[in-house]
Point group: C2
Chain length 235, copies 2
DNA sequence: ACAGGACTGACCGTCAGTCAGTAAATGCCT
DNA sequence: AGGCATTTACTGACTGACGGTCAGTCCTGT
């Protein structure tokens, strides 16, 4: 094969992109290094020139996704004129809007991340995302505790817990994207919606807000998600 | 090798036991089927006579551990004379006592389950344990909501959330058992303790109990755990 | 011209899984 | 009770694929 030299950053990016596509498609374990290098158009040696092991690509990919998530959020926390609750509300509104606006990509992403064979991928990605988001959320909580919007407490630990809550929806989401039939999906979607409503109430109680203050998802999100899913099944 | 025939249940049990020891020792991925059959004193073919794939042993092991956890808990929920809070308190007391009494085994178990290479094992085990415990906890919560011990709400979803909370301590426990030095362990132990205290407060608020009502771990648990760890490091 | 960074591809050891066959247990007929 | 047939439990050599290595080659900037 002809030898093509590229800037290391470019090559690295291409390798991660190739891995990303394949990991999402077939899972981390089921993707071989040979497939990654085939897609990236590069030799085995070059792969191991950039990454010490297959798992390192997984780490790099998780890192990249965590950075993307952090970048989108960071700007929101900057606004100094808002109090704690307004800030949290903005943060949540932003996330809700993202979920709806990007429903197609989100569907694909979730379908990839929540498939049983992708637990390792899921865990890596969410651990890293949590790690970057915890300080941001902790900051929001701390200000809210200081200005009386929220009940006082250990802001860091509570940020960790609140974010942890969202990652424990794994099973309910997995049931959604793994639903084998429309009936199963309907059941899973109902459970999903119930779970998130309960989670909002739980968050309200943790922070000492009136019930209904915090909403993680739009009321009709499961259905909207469902529309995309049905489209995919049909196509 | 001479051929020894045993009752299928016995053989299956021996295979799971051998796998359990090896998975705990070196992790799921790092354990080969050859090692499992070597320890169990059986041939490759016999292994695949009992399990369709390596992963099936992992499932079976997770199943076994989930059943053990459920059996120990089930008896507690049976007592009809107690109200919701007393029942929950009993459940938590039982778990706290278990953690202390079985600190040595718990240490070994945790050290195995929370090592980074064992994420798959961890996830399988805890998903299955959650699945059997959720109905039990939901039952406790429902009775407590009915008799006014707890704030009303979706008992199933809240049971799921409360149990989910405990699994999101993964990182803080992983930091504990993966600590490379005594200093790192001390830091991790402090974070661990803080995290669990916050979690107790969170649970109080979710159920509408006065702060301090729920305690997941004994005040000195991290230190007790630490003693065992130091012993191991020294030995 | 040459040093060192970027890259190649044949090769290696290991591992999960297969399979054709075999020994022991069990049922069944006489 | 003893022979025969069927089923169950098991053996171990083998395969293909995979992650990772390495000796060496090409390319680019200085």
């Amino acid at each position: 094969m002809p030898r093509v030299v590229k800037h290391p950053e470019v090559r690295r990016g291409e390798l991660i992109a190739a891995a990303r596509a394949l990991f999402f498609e077939k899972g981390y374990e089921a993707t071989s290094v040979d497939e990654i290098i085939g897609r990236a158009g590069i030799s085995k040696g070059a792969f191991y020139y950039y990454f010490p092991a297959k798992e390192a690509v997984l780490e790099a990919l998780a890192e990249q996704m965590a950075r993307e998530a952090a970048n989108e959020t960071q700007a929101l926390v900057a606004d100094q004129t808002l109090n704690g609750f307004e800030r949290l509300d903005l943060f949540l509104k932003h996330n809700r809007r993202l979920k709806v606006e990007r429903a197609p990509e989100a569907l694909a992403l979730f379908e990839a991340l929540f498939r049983p064979e992708n637990i390792a991928l899921y865990h890596h990605v969410f651990t890293r995302i949590s790690r970057v988001l915890i300080p941001l959320v902790a900051d929001i909580l701390q200000r809210g505790m200081d200005d009386g919007s929220f009940l006082p407490g250990d802001a860091d630990a509570m940020a960790e817990i609140l974010l942890g809550l969202t990652t424990t929806t794994h099973d309910s989401v997995a049931a959604l994207v793994g639903a084998p039939s429309e009936e199963a999906f309907q059941v899973a979607a109902a459970a999903f919606q119930r779970r998130w409503v309960a989670q909002g109430i739980v968050a309200d109680r943790i922070l000492g807000l009136p019930e209904g203050s915090i909403q993680f998802i739009e009321p009709g999100f499961a259905e909207a998600f469902f529309a995309g899913w049905r489209l995919k099944q049909a196509g």
